[in-house]
Protein backbone atom coordinates (compact mmCIF):
# COMPACT_ATOMS: atom_id res chain seq x y z
CA UNK A 1 0.00 0.00 0.00
CA UNK A 2 1.50 3.33 -0.98
CA UNK A 3 0.48 6.69 0.33
CA UNK A 4 -0.04 9.21 -2.39
CA UNK A 5 -1.37 12.68 -1.75
CA UNK A 6 -5.01 13.19 -2.65
CA UNK A 7 -3.93 15.43 -5.46
CA UNK A 8 -1.67 12.78 -6.92
CA UNK A 9 -4.39 10.13 -6.71
CA UNK A 10 -6.77 12.45 -8.52
CA UNK A 11 -4.15 13.29 -11.12
CA UNK A 12 -3.38 9.65 -11.89
CA UNK A 13 -7.04 8.75 -12.11
CA UNK A 14 -7.89 11.80 -14.21
CA UNK A 15 -7.43 10.34 -17.72
CA UNK A 16 -9.53 7.28 -16.88
CA UNK A 17 -12.14 9.41 -15.15
CA UNK A 18 -12.40 11.67 -18.18
CA UNK A 19 -13.22 8.65 -20.33
CA UNK A 20 -15.58 7.10 -17.77
CA UNK A 21 -17.13 10.33 -16.57
CA UNK A 22 -17.15 12.17 -19.86
CA UNK A 23 -17.99 9.50 -22.37
CA UNK A 24 -19.75 6.81 -20.35
CA UNK A 25 -21.56 8.67 -17.57
CA UNK A 26 -21.91 11.73 -19.79
CA UNK A 27 -23.37 9.54 -22.51
CA UNK A 28 -25.80 7.92 -20.07
CA UNK A 29 -26.93 11.33 -18.78
CA UNK A 30 -27.34 12.66 -22.31
CA UNK A 31 -29.35 9.56 -23.16
CA UNK A 32 -31.56 10.17 -20.12
CA UNK A 33 -32.06 13.83 -21.02
CA UNK A 34 -32.90 13.02 -24.63
CA UNK A 35 -35.43 10.42 -23.58
CA UNK A 36 -37.06 12.90 -21.18
CA UNK A 37 -38.20 15.33 -23.83
CA UNK A 38 -35.11 17.28 -24.76
CA UNK A 39 -34.50 16.11 -28.28
CA UNK A 40 -34.10 19.24 -30.38
CA UNK A 41 -33.81 17.41 -33.70
CA UNK A 42 -37.51 16.60 -33.59
CA UNK A 43 -38.53 19.80 -31.81
CA UNK A 44 -38.84 18.40 -28.30
CA UNK A 45 -37.65 20.84 -25.67
CA UNK A 46 -39.77 20.39 -22.59
CA UNK A 47 -39.68 17.80 -19.83
CA UNK A 48 -41.98 14.88 -20.52
CA UNK A 49 -42.27 11.30 -19.39
CA UNK A 50 -44.25 10.34 -22.45
CA UNK A 51 -41.51 8.17 -23.96
CA UNK A 52 -41.45 6.07 -20.81
CA UNK A 53 -45.24 6.15 -20.45
CA UNK A 54 -45.44 4.89 -24.02
CA UNK A 55 -43.32 1.89 -23.04
CA UNK A 56 -45.91 0.89 -20.43
CA UNK A 57 -48.50 0.42 -23.18
CA UNK A 58 -46.02 -0.80 -25.76
CA UNK A 59 -46.91 -4.39 -26.69
CA UNK A 60 -43.56 -4.91 -28.45
CA UNK A 61 -41.64 -3.67 -25.42
CA UNK A 62 -43.53 -6.05 -23.09
CA UNK A 63 -42.93 -9.06 -25.27
CA UNK A 64 -39.33 -8.05 -25.86
CA UNK A 65 -38.65 -7.56 -22.14
CA UNK A 66 -40.17 -10.96 -21.36
CA UNK A 67 -38.20 -12.59 -24.18
CA UNK A 68 -34.96 -10.97 -23.03
CA UNK A 69 -35.46 -12.17 -19.45
CA UNK A 70 -36.49 -15.66 -20.56
CA UNK A 71 -33.69 -16.23 -23.06
CA UNK A 72 -31.02 -14.74 -20.77
CA UNK A 73 -32.18 -16.95 -17.89
CA UNK A 74 -32.37 -20.15 -19.92
CA UNK A 75 -29.00 -19.61 -21.61
CA UNK A 76 -27.40 -18.71 -18.26
CA UNK A 77 -28.83 -21.72 -16.41
CA UNK A 78 -27.76 -24.16 -19.11
CA UNK A 79 -24.28 -22.60 -19.36
CA UNK A 80 -23.87 -22.66 -15.57
CA UNK A 81 -24.91 -26.32 -15.31
CA UNK A 82 -22.64 -27.37 -18.19
CA UNK A 83 -19.84 -25.14 -16.92
CA UNK A 84 -20.01 -26.75 -13.48
CA UNK A 85 -19.94 -30.22 -15.01
CA UNK A 86 -17.00 -29.34 -17.25
CA UNK A 87 -15.09 -27.80 -14.36
CA UNK A 88 -15.58 -30.84 -12.12
CA UNK A 89 -14.60 -33.26 -14.86
CA UNK A 90 -11.63 -31.20 -16.03
CA UNK A 91 -10.29 -30.52 -12.57
CA UNK A 92 -7.59 -33.16 -12.67
CA UNK A 93 -6.53 -32.49 -16.24
CA UNK A 94 -6.53 -28.72 -15.89
CA UNK A 95 -4.03 -28.69 -13.04
CA UNK A 96 -1.67 -30.89 -15.03
CA UNK A 97 -1.91 -29.81 -18.65
CA UNK A 98 -1.86 -26.41 -20.23
CA UNK A 99 -3.57 -27.90 -23.26
CA UNK A 100 -6.94 -28.12 -21.53
CA UNK A 101 -6.84 -24.54 -20.30
CA UNK A 102 -5.79 -23.18 -23.70
CA UNK A 103 -8.60 -25.21 -25.27
CA UNK A 104 -11.02 -23.57 -22.85
CA UNK A 105 -9.73 -20.10 -23.62
CA UNK A 106 -10.01 -20.22 -27.40
CA UNK A 107 -13.85 -19.98 -27.52
CA UNK A 108 -13.52 -16.85 -25.38
CA UNK A 109 -11.49 -15.20 -28.12
CA UNK A 110 -14.02 -16.08 -30.81
CA UNK A 111 -16.12 -13.04 -31.67
CA UNK A 112 -19.87 -13.51 -31.22
CA UNK A 113 -20.46 -12.60 -34.85
CA UNK A 114 -18.35 -15.55 -36.01
CA UNK A 115 -20.14 -17.97 -33.66
CA UNK A 116 -23.43 -16.61 -35.01
CA UNK A 117 -22.41 -16.97 -38.65
CA UNK A 118 -21.22 -20.57 -38.18
CA UNK A 119 -24.25 -21.57 -36.12
CA UNK A 120 -26.67 -20.26 -38.76
CA UNK A 121 -24.95 -22.46 -41.32
CA UNK A 122 -25.20 -25.46 -39.03
CA UNK A 123 -28.76 -25.27 -37.70
CA UNK A 124 -30.70 -23.38 -40.37
CA UNK A 125 -33.42 -25.35 -42.16
CA UNK A 126 -31.06 -25.89 -45.10
CA UNK A 127 -27.97 -26.09 -42.89
CA UNK A 128 -25.55 -28.93 -42.31
CA UNK A 129 -27.59 -30.66 -39.61
CA UNK A 130 -30.67 -30.59 -41.84
CA UNK A 131 -28.55 -32.08 -44.64
CA UNK A 132 -27.46 -34.87 -42.30
CA UNK A 133 -31.12 -35.47 -41.45
CA UNK A 134 -31.83 -35.66 -45.18
CA UNK A 135 -28.97 -38.11 -45.72
CA UNK A 136 -30.46 -40.37 -43.06
CA UNK A 137 -33.91 -40.08 -44.62
CA UNK A 138 -35.44 -38.23 -41.65
CA UNK A 139 -36.54 -35.28 -43.76
CA UNK A 140 -37.14 -34.83 -47.48
CA UNK A 141 -37.17 -31.04 -47.83
CA UNK A 142 -35.68 -28.19 -45.78
CA UNK A 143 -39.23 -27.16 -44.87
CA UNK A 144 -39.62 -30.33 -42.82
CA UNK A 145 -36.67 -29.40 -40.62
CA UNK A 146 -37.75 -27.56 -37.43
CA UNK A 147 -37.04 -23.83 -37.45
CA UNK A 148 -34.07 -23.34 -35.13
CA UNK A 149 -33.00 -19.87 -36.23
CA UNK A 150 -35.35 -16.89 -36.07
CA UNK A 151 -37.71 -19.23 -34.21
CA UNK A 152 -40.32 -18.52 -31.56
CA UNK A 153 -38.30 -20.11 -28.76
CA UNK A 154 -34.97 -18.45 -29.48
CA UNK A 155 -33.23 -21.80 -29.87
CA UNK A 156 -30.40 -20.37 -31.98
CA UNK A 157 -29.78 -17.53 -29.52
CA UNK A 158 -29.66 -19.93 -26.57
CA UNK A 159 -27.37 -22.35 -28.43
CA UNK A 160 -24.95 -19.59 -29.41
CA UNK A 161 -24.69 -18.26 -25.87
CA UNK A 162 -24.34 -21.72 -24.35
CA UNK A 163 -21.44 -22.42 -26.72
CA UNK A 164 -19.81 -19.10 -25.89
CA UNK A 165 -20.46 -18.83 -22.14
CA UNK A 166 -19.98 -22.42 -20.94
CA UNK A 167 -16.18 -22.22 -21.33
CA UNK A 168 -16.20 -18.92 -19.44
CA UNK A 169 -18.08 -20.35 -16.45
CA UNK A 170 -15.88 -23.46 -16.60
CA UNK A 171 -12.71 -21.36 -16.41
CA UNK A 172 -13.97 -19.23 -13.53
CA UNK A 173 -15.02 -22.35 -11.61
CA UNK A 174 -11.86 -24.30 -12.43
CA UNK A 175 -9.74 -21.46 -11.07
CA UNK A 176 -11.41 -21.89 -7.68
CA UNK A 177 -11.40 -25.70 -7.74
CA UNK A 178 -7.76 -26.04 -8.74
CA UNK A 179 -6.75 -23.61 -6.01
CA UNK A 180 -8.96 -25.24 -3.35
CA UNK A 181 -7.05 -26.88 -0.57
CA UNK A 182 -6.81 -30.65 -0.65
CA UNK A 183 -7.28 -30.79 3.13
CA UNK A 184 -11.08 -30.53 2.94
CA UNK A 185 -11.23 -33.60 0.79
CA UNK A 186 -8.66 -35.41 2.86
CA UNK A 187 -10.76 -34.79 5.95
CA UNK A 188 -13.93 -35.90 4.19
CA UNK A 189 -12.22 -39.05 2.92
CA UNK A 190 -10.76 -39.90 6.32
CA UNK A 191 -14.22 -39.48 7.79
CA UNK A 192 -15.42 -42.09 5.33
CA UNK A 193 -17.12 -40.00 2.66
CA UNK A 194 -17.72 -41.81 -0.62
CA UNK A 195 -17.24 -40.15 -3.99
CA UNK A 196 -20.78 -38.78 -4.26
CA UNK A 197 -20.68 -37.42 -0.73
CA UNK A 198 -17.34 -35.81 -1.57
CA UNK A 199 -18.94 -34.15 -4.59
CA UNK A 200 -22.10 -33.12 -2.74
CA UNK A 201 -20.56 -31.83 0.49
CA UNK A 202 -17.08 -30.67 -0.52
CA UNK A 203 -16.65 -29.98 -4.24
CA UNK A 204 -20.03 -28.37 -4.95
CA UNK A 205 -19.92 -25.98 -1.97
CA UNK A 206 -16.39 -25.00 -3.05
CA UNK A 207 -17.49 -24.38 -6.63
CA UNK A 208 -20.84 -22.74 -5.91
CA UNK A 209 -19.70 -19.13 -5.33
CA UNK A 210 -17.69 -19.11 -8.55
CA UNK A 211 -20.53 -20.64 -10.56
CA UNK A 212 -23.15 -18.25 -9.18
CA UNK A 213 -21.06 -15.11 -9.58
CA UNK A 214 -19.88 -15.94 -13.07
CA UNK A 215 -23.44 -16.90 -14.04
CA UNK A 216 -24.61 -13.48 -12.89
CA UNK A 217 -21.97 -11.86 -15.13
CA UNK A 218 -23.10 -14.01 -18.04
CA UNK A 219 -26.75 -13.10 -17.42
CA UNK A 220 -25.93 -9.38 -17.33
CA UNK A 221 -23.95 -9.68 -20.54
CA UNK A 222 -26.58 -11.67 -22.47
CA UNK A 223 -29.27 -9.28 -21.28
CA UNK A 224 -27.68 -6.34 -23.06
CA UNK A 225 -25.79 -7.96 -25.92
CA UNK A 226 -26.73 -7.32 -29.51
CA UNK A 227 -24.94 -9.38 -32.18
CA UNK A 228 -26.31 -12.86 -31.43
CA UNK A 229 -30.03 -11.94 -31.23
CA UNK A 230 -29.54 -9.69 -34.26
CA UNK A 231 -28.13 -12.57 -36.34
CA UNK A 232 -30.08 -15.52 -34.93
CA UNK A 233 -33.30 -14.04 -33.54
CA UNK A 234 -36.67 -13.05 -34.92
CA UNK A 235 -37.49 -9.47 -35.76
CA UNK A 236 -40.69 -9.57 -33.71
CA UNK A 237 -40.50 -9.99 -30.81
CA UNK A 238 -36.76 -9.28 -30.67
CA UNK A 239 -34.49 -8.90 -27.67
CA UNK A 240 -34.35 -5.41 -26.11
CA UNK A 241 -31.02 -4.35 -27.61
CA UNK A 242 -32.29 -5.21 -31.10
CA UNK A 243 -35.50 -3.24 -30.52
CA UNK A 244 -33.49 -0.23 -29.30
CA UNK A 245 -31.12 -0.45 -32.29
CA UNK A 246 -33.93 -0.76 -34.85
CA UNK A 247 -35.83 2.22 -33.46
CA UNK A 248 -32.68 4.32 -33.14
CA UNK A 249 -31.58 3.75 -36.73
CA UNK A 250 -35.10 4.07 -38.12
CA UNK A 251 -35.57 6.61 -40.92
CA UNK A 252 -38.22 8.17 -38.73
CA UNK A 253 -36.25 10.42 -36.36
CA UNK A 254 -39.19 10.72 -33.98
CA UNK A 255 -38.58 7.11 -32.91
CA UNK A 256 -35.17 8.01 -31.48
CA UNK A 257 -36.31 9.13 -28.02
CA UNK A 258 -38.30 5.90 -27.75
CA UNK A 259 -35.21 3.92 -28.73
CA UNK A 260 -33.14 5.74 -26.14
CA UNK A 261 -35.82 5.10 -23.50
CA UNK A 262 -35.51 1.37 -24.20
CA UNK A 263 -31.71 1.59 -23.99
CA UNK A 264 -31.95 3.49 -20.70
CA UNK A 265 -34.19 0.75 -19.26
CA UNK A 266 -31.58 -1.80 -20.37
CA UNK A 267 -28.80 0.25 -18.75
CA UNK A 268 -30.73 0.45 -15.45
CA UNK A 269 -31.30 -3.31 -15.35
CA UNK A 270 -27.63 -3.99 -16.25
CA UNK A 271 -26.43 -1.62 -13.53
CA UNK A 272 -28.55 -3.42 -10.94
CA UNK A 273 -27.14 -6.76 -12.07
CA UNK A 274 -23.55 -5.51 -11.86
CA UNK A 275 -24.30 -4.05 -8.42
CA UNK A 276 -25.63 -7.43 -7.24
CA UNK A 277 -22.54 -9.08 -8.65
CA UNK A 278 -20.25 -6.78 -6.71
CA UNK A 279 -22.21 -7.39 -3.52
CA UNK A 280 -22.06 -11.10 -4.18
CA UNK A 281 -18.37 -11.30 -4.94
CA UNK A 282 -17.33 -10.06 -1.54
CA UNK A 283 -13.85 -9.33 -2.61
CA UNK A 284 -14.36 -6.32 -4.78
CA UNK A 285 -14.00 -7.78 -8.23
CA UNK A 286 -12.64 -10.83 -9.89
CA UNK A 287 -10.14 -9.04 -11.98
CA UNK A 288 -8.10 -11.58 -13.76
CA UNK A 289 -11.13 -13.18 -15.27
CA UNK A 290 -10.92 -13.82 -18.96
CA UNK A 291 -13.65 -12.24 -20.93
CA UNK A 292 -16.62 -13.07 -23.01
CA UNK A 293 -17.32 -9.44 -23.43
CA UNK A 294 -15.98 -9.11 -26.89
Amino acid sequence: MIRYSRFRVALMLAPALIVIGGLFIGGLLLALVQSLGYFAAIGENAFTLKHYAALIHDEEFHRSLFLTFALSSIATIISAALGLMCAVSLREVASRSRFASVLLQIPLAMPHIVIGVVLINLIASSGLIARLAFAFGIINTPAEFPALTADAYGFGIIAAYVIKETPFITLMTLAVLVRAKDEYELVARTLGANRWQLLRYVTLPLAAPAVVSSALLVFAFIFGAFEIPFLLGRTYPAMLSVVAQRRFLSVNLSERPDAIAVAVCLAIISSLLVYFYMRLARVLVRLDSPTTFL
Binding site: G26, L30, I113, L128, F134, S271, D288
Partner: protein
Protein backbone atom coordinates in the same frame (compact mmCIF):
# COMPACT_ATOMS: atom_id res chain seq x y z
CA UNK B 1 4.33 -38.43 20.28
CA UNK B 2 0.62 -38.40 19.53
CA UNK B 3 1.27 -35.68 17.00
CA UNK B 4 3.82 -37.81 15.20
CA UNK B 5 1.47 -40.76 14.98
CA UNK B 6 -1.29 -38.57 13.58
CA UNK B 7 1.17 -37.04 11.19
CA UNK B 8 2.32 -40.43 9.99
CA UNK B 9 -1.27 -41.50 9.60
CA UNK B 10 -2.16 -38.63 7.29
CA UNK B 11 1.07 -39.11 5.40
CA UNK B 12 0.22 -42.71 4.76
CA UNK B 13 -3.42 -42.03 3.93
CA UNK B 14 -2.77 -38.96 1.84
CA UNK B 15 -1.54 -40.74 -1.24
CA UNK B 16 -4.55 -42.93 -2.16
CA UNK B 17 -7.05 -40.26 -1.05
CA UNK B 18 -5.77 -37.53 -3.37
CA UNK B 19 -5.51 -40.00 -6.19
CA UNK B 20 -9.17 -40.91 -5.85
CA UNK B 21 -10.52 -37.37 -5.79
CA UNK B 22 -13.86 -37.12 -7.55
CA UNK B 23 -13.95 -36.54 -11.25
CA UNK B 24 -16.61 -37.71 -13.64
CA UNK B 25 -14.54 -40.77 -14.53
CA UNK B 26 -11.93 -40.64 -17.24
CA UNK B 27 -14.47 -41.08 -20.01
CA UNK B 28 -16.24 -37.98 -18.68
CA UNK B 29 -13.02 -36.01 -18.83
CA UNK B 30 -12.24 -37.21 -22.32
CA UNK B 31 -15.78 -36.40 -23.44
CA UNK B 32 -15.55 -32.89 -22.00
CA UNK B 33 -12.20 -32.21 -23.65
CA UNK B 34 -13.56 -33.54 -26.95
CA UNK B 35 -16.69 -31.36 -26.72
CA UNK B 36 -14.58 -28.29 -26.01
CA UNK B 37 -12.28 -29.13 -28.90
CA UNK B 38 -15.36 -29.29 -31.16
CA UNK B 39 -16.34 -25.75 -30.16
CA UNK B 40 -12.97 -24.57 -31.46
CA UNK B 41 -12.38 -26.92 -34.36
CA UNK B 42 -15.83 -27.17 -35.99
CA UNK B 43 -16.26 -23.44 -36.68
CA UNK B 44 -12.76 -23.08 -38.12
CA UNK B 45 -12.98 -26.22 -40.30
CA UNK B 46 -16.45 -25.27 -41.47
CA UNK B 47 -15.38 -21.74 -42.40
CA UNK B 48 -12.35 -22.99 -44.34
CA UNK B 49 -14.40 -25.54 -46.30
CA UNK B 50 -17.29 -23.14 -46.92
CA UNK B 51 -14.98 -20.39 -48.13
CA UNK B 52 -13.70 -22.65 -50.94
CA UNK B 53 -17.04 -24.28 -51.73
CA UNK B 54 -18.95 -23.56 -54.90
CA UNK B 55 -22.68 -24.17 -55.40
CA UNK B 56 -22.89 -25.82 -52.01
CA UNK B 57 -26.63 -26.14 -51.46
CA UNK B 58 -29.11 -28.44 -49.70
CA UNK B 59 -29.00 -31.45 -49.67
CA UNK B 60 -25.25 -31.79 -50.35
CA UNK B 61 -23.51 -32.46 -47.04
CA UNK B 62 -20.05 -31.97 -48.51
CA UNK B 63 -19.32 -29.48 -51.28
CA UNK B 64 -18.87 -31.08 -54.72
CA UNK B 65 -17.07 -28.20 -56.39
CA UNK B 66 -14.40 -25.93 -55.07
CA UNK B 67 -13.34 -22.50 -56.23
CA UNK B 68 -11.25 -19.53 -55.22
CA UNK B 69 -14.07 -17.12 -56.12
CA UNK B 70 -14.78 -16.00 -52.55
CA UNK B 71 -11.12 -15.43 -51.72
CA UNK B 72 -10.49 -13.61 -55.00
CA UNK B 73 -13.48 -11.42 -54.30
CA UNK B 74 -12.36 -10.73 -50.73
CA UNK B 75 -8.89 -9.77 -52.00
CA UNK B 76 -10.25 -7.58 -54.80
CA UNK B 77 -10.61 -3.89 -54.23
CA UNK B 78 -14.26 -3.90 -55.34
CA UNK B 79 -15.38 -5.84 -52.27
CA UNK B 80 -14.06 -3.18 -49.91
CA UNK B 81 -12.69 -5.85 -47.59
CA UNK B 82 -9.08 -4.67 -47.66
CA UNK B 83 -10.17 -1.11 -46.86
CA UNK B 84 -12.31 -2.42 -43.99
CA UNK B 85 -9.42 -4.56 -42.75
CA UNK B 86 -7.08 -1.57 -42.59
CA UNK B 87 -9.80 0.52 -40.99
CA UNK B 88 -10.40 -2.14 -38.32
CA UNK B 89 -6.67 -2.45 -37.66
CA UNK B 90 -6.13 1.31 -37.46
CA UNK B 91 -9.09 1.89 -35.13
CA UNK B 92 -8.18 -1.07 -32.89
CA UNK B 93 -4.50 -0.08 -32.65
CA UNK B 94 -5.27 3.55 -31.80
CA UNK B 95 -7.84 2.41 -29.23
CA UNK B 96 -5.33 -0.05 -27.73
CA UNK B 97 -2.58 2.54 -27.36
CA UNK B 98 -4.92 5.14 -25.86
CA UNK B 99 -6.51 2.58 -23.52
CA UNK B 100 -3.18 1.38 -22.16
CA UNK B 101 -1.87 4.92 -21.68
CA UNK B 102 -5.02 5.95 -19.81
CA UNK B 103 -5.19 2.70 -17.85
CA UNK B 104 -1.58 2.63 -16.57
CA UNK B 105 -1.73 5.40 -13.94
CA UNK B 106 -5.33 4.62 -12.98
CA UNK B 107 -4.59 0.91 -12.49
CA UNK B 108 -1.64 1.66 -10.24
CA UNK B 109 -3.68 3.93 -8.00
CA UNK B 110 -6.65 1.54 -7.90
CA UNK B 111 -4.46 -1.42 -7.01
CA UNK B 112 -2.11 0.19 -4.52
CA UNK B 113 -3.97 3.04 -2.82
CA UNK B 114 -6.97 3.32 -0.56
CA UNK B 115 -9.16 6.34 -1.10
CA UNK B 116 -12.75 7.46 -0.87
CA UNK B 117 -14.93 6.50 -3.78
CA UNK B 118 -12.73 3.62 -4.93
CA UNK B 119 -15.61 1.14 -4.90
CA UNK B 120 -17.75 3.51 -6.92
CA UNK B 121 -15.00 3.90 -9.52
CA UNK B 122 -14.62 0.13 -9.77
CA UNK B 123 -18.39 -0.22 -10.18
CA UNK B 124 -18.36 2.36 -12.98
CA UNK B 125 -15.43 0.55 -14.62
CA UNK B 126 -17.25 -2.79 -14.48
CA UNK B 127 -20.47 -1.49 -16.01
CA UNK B 128 -19.39 -0.92 -19.62
CA UNK B 129 -17.20 -4.04 -19.47
CA UNK B 130 -20.06 -6.34 -18.52
CA UNK B 131 -23.05 -4.72 -20.20
CA UNK B 132 -22.55 -3.36 -23.72
CA UNK B 133 -22.78 0.45 -23.45
CA UNK B 134 -25.76 0.90 -25.75
CA UNK B 135 -27.47 3.79 -23.93
CA UNK B 136 -24.21 5.73 -23.55
CA UNK B 137 -23.46 5.31 -27.26
CA UNK B 138 -26.90 6.59 -28.20
CA UNK B 139 -26.47 9.43 -25.72
CA UNK B 140 -23.14 10.66 -27.09
CA UNK B 141 -24.36 10.38 -30.67
CA UNK B 142 -26.16 13.73 -30.46
CA UNK B 143 -23.12 15.36 -28.86
CA UNK B 144 -20.78 13.90 -31.48
CA UNK B 145 -23.06 15.28 -34.21
CA UNK B 146 -22.41 18.80 -32.95
CA UNK B 147 -18.64 18.35 -32.97
CA UNK B 148 -18.61 16.56 -36.34
CA UNK B 149 -17.41 13.39 -34.67
CA UNK B 150 -20.12 11.17 -36.11
CA UNK B 151 -19.18 9.36 -39.32
CA UNK B 152 -15.52 9.91 -38.40
CA UNK B 153 -12.70 7.65 -37.24
CA UNK B 154 -12.12 9.90 -34.22
CA UNK B 155 -15.72 9.43 -33.11
CA UNK B 156 -15.53 5.67 -33.51
CA UNK B 157 -12.25 5.55 -31.55
CA UNK B 158 -13.81 7.61 -28.76
CA UNK B 159 -16.86 5.39 -28.48
CA UNK B 160 -14.68 2.25 -28.48
CA UNK B 161 -12.80 3.70 -25.52
CA UNK B 162 -15.96 3.36 -23.40
CA UNK B 163 -15.59 -0.43 -22.98
CA UNK B 164 -11.83 -0.69 -23.71
CA UNK B 165 -10.41 1.73 -21.13
CA UNK B 166 -12.27 0.13 -18.18
CA UNK B 167 -11.26 -3.31 -19.34
CA UNK B 168 -7.59 -2.42 -19.68
CA UNK B 169 -7.69 -0.66 -16.31
CA UNK B 170 -9.18 -3.63 -14.47
CA UNK B 171 -6.77 -6.07 -16.13
CA UNK B 172 -3.74 -3.91 -15.34
CA UNK B 173 -4.89 -3.29 -11.79
CA UNK B 174 -4.71 -7.01 -11.15
CA UNK B 175 -1.09 -6.92 -12.27
CA UNK B 176 -0.31 -4.03 -9.94
CA UNK B 177 -2.14 -5.72 -7.06
CA UNK B 178 0.72 -8.18 -6.61
CA UNK B 179 3.42 -5.59 -7.17
CA UNK B 180 5.75 -4.85 -4.27
CA UNK B 181 6.44 -1.13 -4.33
CA UNK B 182 9.40 -1.67 -1.95
CA UNK B 183 11.48 -2.79 -4.92
CA UNK B 184 11.00 0.62 -6.52
CA UNK B 185 12.21 2.28 -3.33
CA UNK B 186 15.25 0.00 -3.29
CA UNK B 187 16.10 0.88 -6.87
CA UNK B 188 15.78 4.57 -5.98
CA UNK B 189 18.14 4.12 -3.04
CA UNK B 190 20.62 2.47 -5.37
CA UNK B 191 20.58 5.60 -7.49
CA UNK B 192 18.17 4.84 -10.30
CA UNK B 193 16.23 7.82 -11.58
CA UNK B 194 12.44 7.78 -11.93
CA UNK B 195 12.53 6.72 -15.57
CA UNK B 196 14.97 3.90 -14.95
CA UNK B 197 12.93 2.66 -12.02
CA UNK B 198 9.91 2.51 -14.28
CA UNK B 199 11.84 1.01 -17.17
CA UNK B 200 13.80 -1.65 -15.27
CA UNK B 201 11.65 -2.38 -12.21
CA UNK B 202 7.98 -1.49 -12.64
CA UNK B 203 7.51 -2.27 -16.32
CA UNK B 204 8.99 -5.80 -16.22
CA UNK B 205 6.88 -6.59 -13.17
CA UNK B 206 3.58 -5.59 -14.78
CA UNK B 207 4.51 -6.55 -18.35
CA UNK B 208 2.36 -9.71 -18.45
CA UNK B 209 -0.74 -7.82 -17.31
CA UNK B 210 0.13 -5.03 -19.70
CA UNK B 211 0.22 -7.52 -22.57
CA UNK B 212 -3.13 -9.00 -21.55
CA UNK B 213 -4.71 -5.57 -21.11
CA UNK B 214 -3.48 -4.41 -24.52
CA UNK B 215 -4.60 -7.64 -26.19
CA UNK B 216 -8.09 -7.41 -24.79
CA UNK B 217 -8.44 -3.72 -25.56
CA UNK B 218 -7.53 -4.66 -29.13
CA UNK B 219 -9.95 -7.59 -29.24
CA UNK B 220 -12.85 -5.60 -27.81
CA UNK B 221 -12.34 -2.77 -30.27
CA UNK B 222 -11.82 -5.26 -33.12
CA UNK B 223 -15.20 -6.93 -32.51
CA UNK B 224 -17.35 -3.84 -31.91
CA UNK B 225 -20.36 -3.83 -34.19
CA UNK B 226 -23.22 -1.73 -32.86
CA UNK B 227 -21.15 1.16 -31.47
CA UNK B 228 -19.29 1.46 -34.79
CA UNK B 229 -22.57 1.32 -36.70
CA UNK B 230 -24.26 4.03 -34.60
CA UNK B 231 -21.34 6.49 -34.42
CA UNK B 232 -19.64 5.60 -37.71
CA UNK B 233 -22.94 5.82 -39.56
CA UNK B 234 -21.87 3.50 -42.38
CA UNK B 235 -19.03 5.90 -43.21
CA UNK B 236 -16.45 4.19 -41.02
CA UNK B 237 -16.67 0.63 -42.35
CA UNK B 238 -14.90 -1.95 -40.21
CA UNK B 239 -14.73 -5.72 -40.74
CA UNK B 240 -17.70 -6.64 -38.49
CA UNK B 241 -19.94 -4.26 -40.44
CA UNK B 242 -18.97 -5.64 -43.81
CA UNK B 243 -19.18 -9.20 -42.45
CA UNK B 244 -22.76 -8.74 -41.22
CA UNK B 245 -23.57 -7.11 -44.57
CA UNK B 246 -22.42 -10.18 -46.50
CA UNK B 247 -24.18 -12.49 -44.06
CA UNK B 248 -27.46 -10.63 -44.62
CA UNK B 249 -26.94 -10.77 -48.38
CA UNK B 250 -26.70 -14.57 -48.13
CA UNK B 251 -23.34 -15.03 -49.83
CA UNK B 252 -22.09 -17.99 -47.79
CA UNK B 253 -18.66 -18.48 -49.34
CA UNK B 254 -17.71 -14.81 -49.05
CA UNK B 255 -19.15 -14.59 -45.52
CA UNK B 256 -17.04 -17.60 -44.54
CA UNK B 257 -13.84 -16.22 -46.07
CA UNK B 258 -14.49 -12.89 -44.39
CA UNK B 259 -15.18 -14.61 -41.06
CA UNK B 260 -11.75 -16.21 -41.27
CA UNK B 261 -10.12 -12.86 -42.04
CA UNK B 262 -11.96 -11.47 -39.02
CA UNK B 263 -11.22 -14.45 -36.76
CA UNK B 264 -7.51 -15.02 -37.45
CA UNK B 265 -6.12 -11.84 -35.84
CA UNK B 266 -8.17 -12.48 -32.69
CA UNK B 267 -6.80 -16.01 -32.41
CA UNK B 268 -3.24 -14.85 -33.09
CA UNK B 269 -3.41 -12.09 -30.49
CA UNK B 270 -4.97 -14.50 -28.07
CA UNK B 271 -2.39 -17.23 -28.55
CA UNK B 272 0.42 -14.71 -28.02
CA UNK B 273 -0.94 -13.56 -24.66
CA UNK B 274 -2.66 -16.78 -23.53
CA UNK B 275 0.21 -17.78 -21.26
CA UNK B 276 -0.04 -14.49 -19.37
CA UNK B 277 -3.72 -14.87 -18.59
CA UNK B 278 -4.27 -15.93 -15.03
CA UNK B 279 -7.58 -17.33 -13.97
CA UNK B 280 -6.87 -16.88 -10.35
CA UNK B 281 -9.86 -15.11 -8.91
CA UNK B 282 -8.21 -14.63 -5.54
CA UNK B 283 -6.23 -11.58 -6.52
CA UNK B 284 -8.21 -8.42 -6.34
CA UNK B 285 -7.71 -4.77 -5.73
Amino acid sequence: MAMTTAHRYTQRRAQPVTMRRFHLTDTGTIFTVAALACVTVIPIVFLIVASFARHWYFPAFAPREFSLRAWEYVASSSSGVTTALWMSLAVALIVTILSVLVALPAARVLALCEFKGKRLIIFLLMLPVIAPPLAATMGVHNLFLRFDLTDSIAGVVLVHLIPCVPYATLMLASGFANFETDIEAQARTLGANRFNVWRYVTLPAVAPSLAVAAAFAFLISWSQYLTTLIIGGNQVITLPLILVGFQRAGDEATTSALSLVFLLPTLLVFIVVARFIKHDASKSI
